[in-house]
Subunit: 74 residues, 2 copies
DNA sequence: ACTAAAAGTAAAAAATATATTACTTAATGT
DNA sequence: ACATTAAGTAATATATTTTTTACTTTTAGT
């Protein structure tokens, strides 16, 4: 999707707050590829809900603290 | 994805709580097809994060009140 | 019983996310 | 300066989500 709002994430920041966790380490912990993490940090696309939950769980944060939806009113 | 946890949603319940909102009405409000809503209620797959945010917004609830991630410990 | 609206089912196409592979660039330590 | 590790880029393949279309069944009202 992608006309209305945009998804932002705090992945990069949270990685550093978690002892400079590496992209590869996060990827492994979340059960995805490093490229997936890369693409998310580079905002190439937004993740599936499942992946969003997994990443949040790695950081021990509620999903909405990791991902946010910036809505442009239609 | 889909080995570890499962995503549950409260869409159907929330539709009824919102004045018996119809699947078609929710679909329109969220900017997707009725089939998409159907498939989500039938748990055929889990949505994109963006759609999850959109649906939550229609119900005026935080995402985590509409969608939950039931995690089976690995 | 009839009608209309809503919900369910299904198949295939289109769009988007994720994996795989491989290479390049940047950063860090020795 | 060299080696190593992390990060960035990119192309293609695979998987998953969403649309489109069309038809069937259920539900509610008259």
């Amino acid at each position: 999707m992608g006309i209305q709002g945009k998804i932002h994430n705090q992945i990069r920041r949270l990685r550093f707050e978690h002892d400079e966790m590496t992209q590869a380490a996060l990827a492994k912990a979340a059960g995805v590829t490093r490229q997936t993490i890369m693409s998310l940090e580079a905002n190439k696309y937004s993740p599936s809900l499942e992946l969003a939950f997994k990443i949040s769980r790695v950081f021990n944060k509620p999903l909405t603290e990791v991902f946010s939806y910036e809505q442009t009113e239609p």
